[in-house]
């Protein structure tokens, strides 16, 4: 272990008033990381300071407790089982892309069956499919970006905290958007429903579209609530 860090350098610590520097030096000495020239300084202070001697005794007790705790901590799991489960997880990940496109295709064919096959409806369907792929592409980009951010040299936990706070802010803002979309679409859907009951066959497609929009808005609303709740919980867990 390198021994280049000087605990008694005033610029070394962000906050080290009074005996704090010596207490921190004790922590470093316990990990064999105290610079050699700092050891006699610490010893001289310990000889003169009862509070720091008490601190050293209490920390020795803590180290003994943590050593017991750690012994159990390092009991290894069954590696073959972990390996097999990880392998299965990787296979699921590799299968995800083809399955996602297949699912999109199935939804598209199903929607075509409901909406009919007029040129405008086919165009609408293709546009929906394109939006779906764009959303999936965006999700993939977000995942890759998060991975690459972990390669950068920054405070990992502060960044994580910042991401969660941003996600919570977006969720709080967006949760009002989806009910508005659903409420905005409702009159058109109700109008199309009344026309369909009256026997107007042309209203069938509009009714299906409105139903789809309202359903998607409600799903998005629930997902936004879940995302916000999860971000709030994670933030609370970080303290």
């Amino acid at each position: 272990m390198t021994q280049t860090f000087d605990p008694f350098d005033p610029d070394a610590w962000t906050d080290a008033p009074g005996c704090e520097a010596f207490e921190q030096a004790l922590t470093m000495r316990a990990r064999s990381a105290l610079a050699p020239h700092a050891v006699p300084v610490l010893e001289a202070h310990l000889a003169a300071c009862e509070a720091c001697r008490d601190h050293a005794a209490r920390m020795a007790g803590l180290d003994a407790t943590l050593a017991t705790h750690r012994g159990d901590e390092l009991a290894a799991p069954g590696w073959q089982r972990v390996h097999d489960q990880l392998h299965a997880g990787i296979q699921r990940y590799q299968r995800r892309t083809p399955w996602t496109i297949a699912l999109a295709g199935a939804v598209g064919v199903g929607a075509l069956a409901v909406l009919g096959s007029g040129p405008m409806r086919v165009a609408g369907l293709l546009a929906t499919f394109a939006v779906y792929l764009a959303i999936m592409g965006f999700a993939y980009w977000v995942e890759q970006r998060r991975q690459h951010r972990l390669l950068d040299d920054h405070d990992v936990i502060a960044t994580y905290r910042g991401e969660l706070a941003r996600r919570l802010r977006i969720a709080r803002t967006a949760r009002w958007l989806w009910p508005l979309v659903a409420v905005g679409e409702a009159p058109r859907g109700i109008g199309a429903l009344i026309e369909t009951i009256d026997g107007n066959g042309d209203a069938h497609g509009r009714l299906a579209t409105s139903t789809l929009v309202i359903a998607l808005a409600l799903v998005a609303f629930v997902m936004t609530l879940v995302t916000g709740r999860s971000a709030r919980r994670e933030l609370a867990g970080l303290k």
Binding site: M1, T2, F5, P7, A12, W13, T14, D15, A16, E20, E23, Q24, T27, M28, R31, A33, R58, M59, G61, L62, T65, L66, T68, H69, R70, D72, E73, L74, A75, A76, P77, W79, V82, H83, Q85, L86, G89, I90, Y93, E143, Q144, Q147, H148, L150, L151, D152, D153, H154, D155, V156, I157, T159, Y160, R161, R233, E234, A236, G237, L238, K239
Partner: protein, 186 residues
């Protein structure tokens, strides 16, 4: 001679998917022990630590195609581990009650119960620390990490590593001492 991270990164450059899978297997074998150590310290003993371990390596696998070696491989993996373990732990909420492995020793049931209670208290005390302090404590508890490496993993200055470790130990000692005073005889 054991494979180093630099060797593994060199083999990743221009590798096909099957070659990458082979390198990933070696990465798993090289780092699994220490990643598990970090996860267990942050998640507590039990299934959650194994979930964090698996998710860490799954995230590593996903990111391997885009890994260009600009950062240290080990540093990157342990960053993923810290983040994943903290995320799973915070999502879980309260600590799960987990059995302590019986190593087949002839320990008196009362002693075993006392050890179990003590371990639960330590884990609960660690759990109450802020994430920044927990992460430093976990990385120090796993063999082989120096303070410079821990600073690199967490992306913080070395002085901050020592400062957080010091605060974590102080808080831990105070919590455990308070617990011992409130439950005499344990």
């Amino acid at each position: 001679m054991p494979t180093t991270d630099d060797d593994l990164v060199a083999r990743l450059r221009g590798a096909t998917r099957s070659e990458r899978d082979v390198v990933f297997g070696e990465i798993f074998r090289t780092h699994r022990g220490r990643v598990f150590g970090v996860c267990r310290y942050l998640c507590g003993p039990g299934a959650l630590a194994e979930d964090a371990l698996q998710e860490t390596f799954l995230e590593t696998y996903k990111g391997l195609a885009g890994f260009r070696g600009d950062s240290q491989l080990g540093t990157w993996i342990y960053r993923i581990a810290v983040r994943t373990a903290l995320r799973l732990r915070s999502r879980q909420g309260t600590l799960a009650e987990t059995p302590i492995e019986d190593a087949g020793t002839t320990v008196h049931p009362h002693d075993r119960l006392a050890a179990r209670e003590r371990m639960r208290q330590v884990q609960a005390a660690i759990d109450r620390l802020p994430a920044e302090q927990r992460a430093v404590l976990a990385l120090f508890a796993v063999d082989g990490f120096g303070h410079a490496e821990i600073a690199g993993i967490l992306g913080i200055p070395e002085g901050t590593v020592w400062s957080r470790l010091h605060k974590a130990r102080n808080a831990l000692e105070a919590t455990l001492a308070q617990g011992a005073r409130s439950t005499p005889g344990t």
